[in-house]
């Protein structure tokens, strides 16, 4: 059972079950807990090799026991996401914890990843349960519907869920090449039905200066 203790600490109540969390993110616990490093995030040998190859590194541990365990990471704001069978795409660096029942994996994001400064691959979380994602400053959750597509700055994107198509939109034109770029030349356009999480801060991206 995930709950927030303040906005920057995640408290998980465990009754003999397990939870997957980012390695080293435990800040306190009461009760009895066992921490086990999960090689390859519990995705098996194939997942391990994929992660190594794609550079979408994710060090996870499995926490099991009775009591309450608290997680936090560099005072990032934490957002809870409930999944009911759908798929959540999140940058590996923004994933804090997931229910043990959720499957994690890696997918190719296409060109978008190259512009967001996070590599060409992203982490997926799938199944039914809860996940906790981190953002620099409180995240804003935006709904995308077929009538209202959304454009997001690659540096501010952290996660999305639902049936969404994304493509990279480039506004590079002759003016960019003349040094009169708008600074917003690259955007990810989301279309379809789902939710997009953005953070009020931009990572340094390749596209950010153009």
């Amino acid at each position: 059972m995930f709950r927030l203790q303040g906005s920057k600490t995640l408290a998980v109540d465990l009754t003999g079950d397990a939870v997957k969390a980012k390695n080293g993110s435990m800040v306190a616990y009461d009760g009895r807990m066992a921490f086990k490093k999960m090689s390859g995030g519990g995705e098996g040998l194939r997942g391990m090799v994929t992660r190594r190859l794609t550079g979408e590194q994710m060090e996870m541990m499995e926490v099991k026991g009775q009591g309450t365990c608290y997680f936090a990471d560099r005072a990032s704001e934490i957002n809870l996401v409930s999944l009911h069978g759908e798929k959540l795409h999140v940058e590996a660096s923004n994933l804090l914890a997931t229910d043990a029942g959720l499957r994690t994996g890696t997918t190719f994001t296409g060109l978008r990843g190259g512009a967001s400064g996070n590599g060409l691959f992203t982490t997926t979380v799938e199944g039914t349960g809860q996940a906790a994602i981190m953002s620099d400053g409180s995240a804003v959750v935006l709904r995308v519907t077929p009538q209202y597509p959304l454009n997001v700055d690659p540096g501010a994107y952290i996660a999305h869920q639902g049936r969404l198509q994304q493509h990279l939109q480039s506004g590079v034109n002759f003016r960019t090449l003349m040094g009169e770029g708008s600074g917003e030349s690259f955007q990810i356009r989301f279309e379809g039905d789902g939710l997009v999480y953005v953070q009020p801060s931009e990572r340094n991206t390749v596209g950010g200066d153009v």
């Binding site: 059972m1 995930f2 709950r3 927030l4 957002n79 809870l80 409930s82 809860q130 620099d136 400053g137 409180s138 995240a139 804003v140 959750v141 935006l142 709904r143 519907t145 209202y148 597509p149 959304l150 454009n151 997001v152 700055d153 540096g155 501010a156 506004g171 003016r175 003349m178 040094g179 009169e180 770029g181 708008s182 600074g183 917003e184 939710l195 997009v196 953005v198 953070q199 009020p200 801060s201 931009e202 950010g208 200066d209």
Partner: protein, 254 residues
């Protein structure tokens, strides 16, 4: 479990804060000036164009008077709602009514073209004149104070209406040879608060609640002419060592 608020184009506020770090601007065929890279997401049809663009010549002529600054700003136009944010700093919007406000250049995020942006005489600051709304970021919430007042240089965000911003040095501390030596070397302990900005007269001073500065946005060099602060016209003075304060040490014979 707390369910997060989910926004869509209908529920997003119009020209108001979404949370303390994010501001939503509604465009209805209108234009906004914004600093490069501060847009995080938008709904609708919005174009971003650099300011050097010929189509904006008239707009730039009336509301943008900092030519050396032009490459840091873009014009957003179209219709829709866009979200602005800056490195997870607090953002706030302010309304000016036929007024003026001077702000540290790195703190200004966006403004309506009904305001005119000018480079301040004080280096590193920008002045907004006119009527309209602008969005500024600060590290921690902004505090409003009334002059007469002395503020720490790092905590200053901006000021409105105050006619005479100036430096203030604690003179007593630096009196005598020992004092001069102390201020020069830092040995003997300095409190770090010997230098302040002083404001007198009617107006408002805006402070942020931390002394961590936001990275400064270069506002361009000032033109090289006599009478312009920092613009040369001075005869070769020796470069100052860190810790030296103004020309006080010269007065004390150091």
């Amino acid at each position: 479990m707390s369910t997060p608020v989910i926004f869509d184009p209908m529920t997003l506020p119009s020209d108001d804060n979404v949370n303390s770090y994010t501001f939503c601007v509604e465009l209805k065929g209108s234009q906004w000036f914004l600093q490069k890279g501060k847009m995080i997401a938008y709904y609708g049809q919005i174009d971003f164009n650099g300011i050097g663009h010929g189509r904006f010549e008239r707009l730039v002529r009336t509301s943008f008077h900092s030519p050396l600054h032009a490459s840091d700003w873009v014009v957003a136009e179209g219709s829709g709602k866009m979200l602005l944010a800056d490195r997870a700093f607090d953002v706030n919007s302010f309304d000016l009514e036929d007024g003026n406000l001077t702000i540290r250049s790195g703190n200004l995020l966006a403004y309506q073209p009904t305001l005119a942006l000018k480079q301040s005489i004080v280096p590193g600051f920008l002045t907004l004149i006119g009527t309209g709304k602008f969005v500024a970021a600060s590290n921690g919430p902004v505090v409003f104070m009334e002059p007469p007042l002395r503020v720490d240089p790092q905590a200053l965000v901006g000021w409105a209406d105050c006619p005479s911003p100036c430096h203030h040095y604690d003179h007593g501390y630096m009196r005598g040879v020992m004092g001069g030596l102390r201020s020069l070397t830092g040995i003997g302990g300095t409190s770090g608060e010997e230098h302040q900005f002083e404001f007198v007269g009617a107006g408002t001073v805006l402070l942020q609640s931390t002394e961590v500065l936001m990275p400064e946005q270069a506002t361009g060099a000032v033109p090289h002419e006599p009478g312009v602060p920092g613009g040369g016209g001075q005869h070769g003075s020796t470069p100052r060592m860190p810790g030296q304060l103004g020309d006080l040490q010269r007065r004390f014979g150091l």
